[in-house]
Structures are given as C-alpha cells and as structure tokens.
C-alpha cells in the first residue's frame, strides 16, 4: 500500500530503531510503516474506532487527546514526536508544539497550507471558505479549527526559538521548492528541534 505523501516523507526520514510517538495516528498507516522498518513506534489517537483498528493491526496506541495527554510523557522520552495533519485540529496548537518538543528530541509536524493559491483564489473570487482536496470538509463541520499558512508557521517558530532542521513542501504527491512555498505548496512537513 502506498503511503500518503507527507507520511512517506516522514517514514523515509526516521531512521530504523528510533522511538516514535505518532500523535493523531489515525488508523495506524504511518505506525505500520515505521514498525516494518524496525522502529519502536507508538500512537495516540482520539477516535476509539481508530484505536481499535490499530490494536487489531498489532500496534500500540493510546486513546488520548493531543491537547491534554502529552503531559503524561516524560521529557525527551522519544526520538521523534510526530504530528501529521493534526496541528490545525488542536485547541492550542502552540502548546501542543511545545509539548511535542518536550517529549521528543525532535518533532515532525505536517499541515495543509491555507495560503495555497487555490485556497486564496477560492476566497478571493468565490468569497467562500475553500473546499479543496486537502481541505475537503465544509466550514461548519471541519475538524480544522486553527487554519494556518506556511508563513504563519515559520513566524511562530522564529518567535518561539524553534529550529527548522529540514522542511518539505508538497504539491499533490510531488515535492516543490521552498521558494514561494507559501503560495505554491498544498502541504508542508517540518522537522523541528529546540
């Protein structure tokens, strides 16, 4: 099975043998890939149905909330704390980011870019909240309560003194350059440390 493009980047980048916590692990797609390459991969997931699916796949997943339950993990107890496509769904993304960098020596964060030109166009011409491939749900039922752009995220990292070790920008399943990423990338993946 082919991994979602941002997950493929994350799975490629994490070396075998690493300890990983995937926060918001869904049905365990990334966890399975990490386990197959010999990582000690654990998950946290809000939806009990997804947790049950993960347990059925032999994965170790805790039902929990990124906003509150990272507090129970000791400092630097993991090589990587991963948050894929989840940052924009949390109540306090800033605090979640701090927690990821507390429990993990490194954090990997991926999110859809709200400044992609299609989103801009949709707002500019339609005057409507965009419904796109990466943001497929209407405004009233979207779990995405804190939309952000790549520029927002970079500014926030600079403000908080968080170091970007590497970043990847995606258009569909293809990488696109960092230049004008805030306009051209649908999706961003950041490798962070503090």
């Amino acid at each position: 099975m082919k991994l979602r493009p941002d997950l493929a980047i994350i799975a490629d980048h994490i070396p075998p043998g690493s300890s990983v916590l995937d926060v918001g692990c869904g049905d365990g797609e990334l966890l399975s890939a990490l386990r197959d390459k010999g990582c000690d991969a654990r998950g946290m997931e809000l939806d009990p149905h997804n947790v049950a699916l993960c347990v059925g796949r032999g994965l170790s997943v805790i039902q929990g909330d990124a906003d509150s339950d990272l507090a129970f993990y000791p400092d630097k107890s993991l090589d990587y704390a991963v948050l894929s496509q989840t940052l924009q769904t949390t109540k306090r993304p800033d605090l979640v980011l701090d927690e990821l960098l507390r429990v993990g020596r490194k954090a990997i964060v991926s999110f859809p870019n709200f400044a992609h030109w299609r989103v801009r166009l949709s707002l500019l011409w339609g005057g409507r909240m965009p419904v796109t491939r990466l943001l497929p749900v209407a405004w009233y039922e979207t779990p995405n309560i804190h939309h952000l752009t790549i520029a927002d995220f970079r500014a926030h990292l600079a403000e908080r003194g968080i170091r970007v070790e590497q970043a990847w920008f995606l258009k569909g399943d293809r990488l696109t350059s960092a230049a004008a990423a805030n306009f051209r990338a649908e999706h961003a993946v950041f490798l962070l440390s503090r």
């Binding site: 654990r42 009990p48 049950a52 032999g58 170790s60 997943v61 805790i62 929990g64």
Partner: protein
C-alpha cells in the same frame, strides 16, 4: 468444529509447597480448582491464563455445576471466538479464597474443621502467586497472554508487575490499579450486611443446617450489583415500572420491577457463593494498590516488564471509570512498555466486559493474535 461442544478439563491441583502470603503466613496444602480448554502445544507457547472477577469461577466456557448456566465468558472463549480455543490453550482457575473448589474460608483447616474466619487475609498478589504456582505445575514458563476483567484485571496487572518474565502480553478490561474510597465503601456495606446477619455467627455457620447468612449475603450482592450496571441501563430496563401489579400497594413488598430484580439477583447468588469467601475476596480487592506495593509510583511497578499491554475501559462504567485505565496506560508509557488503551462505548456499565460489545471482541482478537 465450531458446533462441537467445547471440551473442558476440570482438575484440582494441590500445591506441593506452602504458598507464601503477603500477610506473612505460609499456607500449606493449597488446592486450586481449574479448567482448561484447547490443546497445549509441545513447546508450551500457546497458553492463555484467564483470571476471573470477584464472584466468578473457573467455569469460563463450560456450564456452572450448581446453576447449570453456560460459562461466564462463552461469548469470548471457544473455537473461533476472540479467545480461540482452536489456537490457544486456555486456563482458568478458581482464585485462592473463593468457594468453587479452591482453598478458601470454607475449606478444611489444619484441625479438620472449616477455616472460617481463621483463614488468613489474602491479597490480589497472593491470588496471583497461586496462579503462577499452577503454571509451574503445568510446566508453562511463559503464557502467551494473561487476560482478565474487573478483579481479573487487577490480577493481570499484579501478574505483569510481579512476574514480568511469565507473560508476553497482558489484557486488562474494566479494571483499576487500586481501590478508591468509593470502591472500598461499597464493599464495606456488603461486608457489614453479611456480618449483621445473625446467621453469620462470627463466620462459624458451616454445618449449621446449611443456613449461612443468606439474607446478609443477598443484600451485599444487591448493593454490589447496582455498581456493576449503569443508571441508564437500569432506567431502560425497568424505569419506574411496577412488578405484576397495576398500582402501588402502599407497603414494602417489591412494588417496583427493579426491586424484584435486585431481590432475585441477591437470592440466587446465595445458592452459589460462600459468605465468608465474599468477605475475604472483597478485602483483597480493597487492599489492592499496585503503586503502593512498588514504592508509591505506578510506573515503577512495570519497570521490569517486557509484555505488551492492552487496557480497555467502558464509558458507562462508574465502578472503575475510564480515568483509572488511563492512569495505568500513562504509567506503562512512562515505564516504556508497549501499551494500547481505549475507552469503548457500551450501555451496560461495569459489566460491559462480560456482555455483547462487538468492538471489544475485535480488540481482544486483534490484540491476542
């Protein structure tokens, strides 16, 4: 094969060595009544130990010898079931202190008379020591999994903490790592009901015409039974419906269906359970505090464990609510153990682990595979 009756082997083991107890005593001649299902592989790698709850017994998937009812977990254990007896060798023993063939207060003491209240106070860890002694006798070094709900789950936690090399996986359903003040309070109501019954006679009721403190034990069971079900479940099942009558009688007969139901639950319980066993086992549960046994920090209890853990709670369980399982999950995480935890939605309260919850079946099958 799925339609064939499940073959159960009933046996009683007498331990060769005295069993050391947390209370400091050594209990000689301990008998353990147990059932097995399925076939043990030649390399003895496919054993699953099931630990039963407070008033449970070894008849996990075979009819109860007194009530004739099907085993208490037939929906979970059997050929092709989530705990598949075509693949696994399933063992379930009556716990130490109980009354279905294992040594307890109703058993003969050293002087040939029933132990009654001279029986030593036991703990969950003592029960687990007995389970491990049984595994020793069966020549099983390490079980594929140890599984249990409620008090059975407490035994699973104690097993994994105290005998970390003896299990590869631990499945804990609707349990807690320690009894709360409220848990102890409900048990104390039950114990006082038994001890307030004149037929209890300080525990020396054996052989007295067969009539023990049945009224007290029934009340204890009624109080406990309320804690096993949810308010919503009771309301749905009974509401304020009247029992076989059109109007209230302005008396103290069982006017309401819920009263009649509880009275029946209490009475039928006395046919199959010993009141002194109820005192001893509830005491063991009240004494249970896994963190306290390990220097006060729950994570330290699992420091030596290399087992996989899975914890399941139920959203309507107010006896051992989800927060208890979550606390254990976080402690296991802090100890670096592979752990899964989920709260399942089911309407039946604490008893959900025994009842029709399809999501639980999937989790159990998936975790044990």
């Amino acid at each position: 094969m799925a339609s064939a009756p499940l073959l159960a082997e009933s046996r009683v083991l007498t331990l060769a060595d005295p069993l050391p107890l947390d209370g400091g005593q050594r209990l000689a001649g301990v008998r353990l009544a147990y059932e097995t299902y399925g076939t043990l592989k030649a390399d003895r790698s496919n054993a699953i130990l099931i630990c039963h709850a407070l008033t449970g017994d070894q008849h996990v998937a075979s009819p109860h010898p007194i009530t004739g009812k099907p085993g208490w977990w037939v929906r979970m254990v059997g050929p092709g079931k989530p705990i598949d007896t075509n693949r696994f060798f399933v063992i379930c023993a009556n716990v130490l202190g109980s009354c279905m063939g294992s040594t307890g207060p109703a058993s003969e003491g050293p002087d040939g008379k029933p132990w009654a209240m001279r029986f030593p106070v036991i703990t969950i860890r003592d029960m687990v020591r007995a389970q491990v002694a049984l595994l020793d006798a069966l020549g099983i070094e390490r079980v594929h999994a140890v599984v249990g709900g409620s008090m059975g789950g407490m035994q699973v936690l104690s097993f994994a903490a105290n005998f970390p090399d003896r299990c590869a996986a631990a499945l804990v359903l609707a349990a807690t790592a320690r009894h709360s003040a409220q848990n102890i309070a409900f048990h104390e109501v039950g114990r006082q009901a038994i001890m307030a019954d004149p037929q209890w006679r300080g525990g020396d009721y054996y052989g007295a015409g067969g009539k023990g403190p049945e009224k007290g034990l029934a009340v204890a069971r009624m109080a406990a039974h309320i804690t096993y079900i949810s308010e919503a479940g009771l309301t749905e099942k009974f509401g304020r419906n009247l029992q076989d009558r059109a109007a209230k009688t302005f008396g103290f007969d069982a006017d309401f269906q819920v009263e009649s139901y509880l009275r029946y639950q209490g009475l039928s319980f006395t046919d199959r359970f010993d009141a002194n066993s109820y005192l001893y086992i509830t005491r063991a549960m009240d004494y249970f505090d896994l963190a306290e046994e390990h220097g006060g920090r729950l994570a330290d209890a699992f420091a030596a464990s290399r087992a996989r853990f899975c914890l399941v709670s139920f959203d309507t369980d107010w006896l051992y609510p989800t927060v208890e399982s979550r606390t254990i999950a976080h402690a296991l995480n802090a100890a670096g153990c592979p752990v899964s935890f989920m709260e399942l939605s089911a309407p039946f309260g604490h008893d959900s682990f025994l009842l029709e919850v399809p999501a639980l079946d999937r989790v159990v099958a998936g975790f044990l595979r």
